[in-house]
Amino acid sequence: MNPWELIIQQPVTNVLIVMSHYLGDSFGLAIIALTVIVNICMFPLTLSQIRSSKAMQDLQPKIAELQKKFGKDKQKLTQEQMKLYKESGVKPAGCFITMVIQMPVWIALYQSIMLALAVAPEGLLNLSKYLYPWPIVFSVLPLDRSFLMLDLAQPNFILAILVGASMWLQQKMSTTIPSDPRQAQQSQMMLWMMPMMFALLALSFPSGLSLYWVANSVVRVVLQYRVTGWGGLRRKPAETTADTDKKYVKFDESGEKKSVDDVGADIVISDTDPDRKDIYQPSKPSKARYQPGKDRAQRRRKK
């Protein structure tokens, strides 16, 4: 047995089997319960991921503006983006790192479910080498595969639909459609493609795995709701930030000296249609726009 199997897979598999016994010999309930427990254990990481993700989304309009401004100068664009992230306290890699840390746990859970399910005779034989010498573990196997009129060893169409729907719901809540049409298109595509892909996979694999996906998505939806509310389910693309129709730079009239950390915090940016006549637009936007460094120097000279 390799270290992965010894440290991760074997304990999770045995816990799953024991839980199945104490939950009325229901493997389906054991899958749901273990998914919930693992989610609770990973709550701090999940919370951090949700918050990082939200912060990143909130910055999207500003990033879009920077892209417009420095689109041709990639180096400058990167610098400005990094600056914006730093000023906003957002770590772009944070979201990814959290996902990477969580990934092994989800893989272990998936592997344990498939192991314990022992769909084929070879699977049951293979399972025997992962068992702890607990009498209860030996006696309870093979596990009962029926759950709510489902055979957890067979693909199930309804559960596959539920996989897609719950995953879409979770993604929709956590995604804000960017106002940039190009990014919005990509975002929309991801929003639909991922759930569809998992729904298709669910049609080909034992429904025990689908049950795990659905339970996981439902738990994530609840967590997402608790942290950010309905999120993307309520927001419309045009309402991603407040006052987005304004196309001017709001300078601080109080004359109080801003700290370096506040740079950019008072900028209200919009990329709505520049041809609109019903709103105020500077005749020469390039001059009126906030230019880091230049404006600050002018303000200092005035003082």
Partner: protein, 384 residues
């Protein structure tokens, strides 16, 4: 959409395809997701019959090694969107290319019988391999994992639907059925007009072979997959509760029980009143037939799920890792015979001092039990 936009969409699609590939590859990491089969061999008139990974029955003439195959067993049921459903004989990844065959073929008269994971039982002519009959003719039953036994023109088998079937061996017509409370993966054993079979419902059943009526049942604390061994009016059966039970044939009362550290999956063998019981805890135990006292234990470094064979004064055992050992009954010594580096889950077959082992790479491995010489393997694939 401009060129840049198309390129971005293309990248997303490529990313999704890659993710899909990774997911599918990752799912294959769990061993035992798809059925492969572990059919043993049976020999009659110098011809060895074995079920292949392609879902065919092959007859090998041991004199000239010529081979004859049946048509592949017909796949049925759900195969999933990508053909990946492990159910009803479909398979993907490392699974069987055809219908998985677990039971060892049985030769009786001029017919050879085999049961498939597709839920059908087939009877072929031994010489031409022409299909004589199939049961059921139209639909499919639940998968068959256990093997067939035949006696007195009757064929007996247990299915995943928990039923024991008795058929007319000549025509395939059903004679009687007996329902247990859970799946049956084990092969029945006939002795003195009684049919013994274990079930996932943790019971060993003794049925009247004539009409299928239950004579007695013996409850263990774990599911039963092993094939019962009957010797001197006692049934020996391994259970998932890690015990090997000795049960009296006459009334189903317990004679003794012996506990190991894992499941007793394979059928034991008995020689000179000594039981050789292979176990998944990496040991083969020798136990006194009369009282269940342990005589010895042999550590083999891997679980044993295949029925051993007795050749002269040795018991030949193969671990699931493909390592073959010989246990001498006289010197009590274990000697290493071969390492095939292939899973060995099905029963071994012996004929004229040669041990035949069916491995998942689609070949029949051969060892001379007396000398330990490894003979050239015989391919079971019809394409080779």
């Amino acid at each position: 959409m401009n060129l840049k936009g198309k390129w971005r969409v293309g990248r997303i699609v490529l990313l999704l395809v890659l993710m899909l590939a990774v997911c599918l590859a990752g799912f294959g990491c769990v061993k035992g997701l798809a059925p492969i089969g572990w059919s043993g061999g049976s020999i009659s008139d110098n011809t060895l019959f074995v079920g292949t990974r392609e879902g065919r029955l092959v007859a090998i003439n041991l004199a000239d090694e010529s081979r004859l195959w049946t048509e592949p067993l017909k796949k049925v049921g759900q195969t999933g969107l990508f053909g990946c459903s492990p159910i009803m004989g479909g398979g993907c990844g490392s699974g069987s290319a055809g219908v998985a065959i677990y039971g060892t073929p049985v030769v009786y008269g001029e017919l050879v019988y085999i049961a498939g994971y597709n839920g059908k039982i087939y009877a072929y002519n031994t010489t031409s391999l022409a299909l004589r009959w199939v049961y059921p003719r139209e639909s499919n039953l639940n998968p068959f994992v256990g093997g067939i036994v035949i006696s007195g023109d009757r064929l007996y088998i247990g299915g995943e639907d928990g039923k024991v079937y008795a058929l007319d061996a000549a025509t395939g017509d059903p004679v009687w059925e007996f329902q247990t409370d859970d799946k049956i993966w084990g092969t029945p054993t006939l002795y003195d007009g009684k049919l013994f079979i274990g079930s996932f419902d943790k019971k060993l059943y003794a049925l009247d072979a004539a009409d299928g009526s239950k004579e007695w049942e013996f409850l263990t604390e774990g599911s039963i997959i092993a094939t019962p061994l009957v010797y001197n009016d006692v049934v020996y059966i391994g259970s998932f509760d890690r015990n090997l039970y000795a049960v009296n044939v006459s009334n189903g009362s317990l004679k003794w029980q012996f506990m190991a550290n894992n499941w007793f999956w394979a059928e034991p063998v008995v020689v000179n009143d000594v039981i050789y019981a292979p176990c998944l805890d990496n040991y083969v135990y020798t136990i006194k037939e009369e009282n269940g006292a342990k005589i010895d234990e042999y550590e083999l470094g891997g679980p044993v799920s295949s029925r051993p064979v007795v050749v002269n004064d040795s018991v030949i055992v193969a671990t699931t890792k493909g390592v073959v050992y010989s246990i001498s009954m006289t010197t009590k010594e274990v000697s290493h015979l071969a390492d095939f580096e292939q899973d060995v889950d099905g029963p071994l077959t012996e004929y004229e001092g040669i041990v035949y082992i069916h491995t998942p790479d689609g070949s029949l491995r051969r060892i001379n039990a007396a000398t330990g010489a490894i003979l050239r393997p015989i391919s079971l694939e019809s394409q080779n």
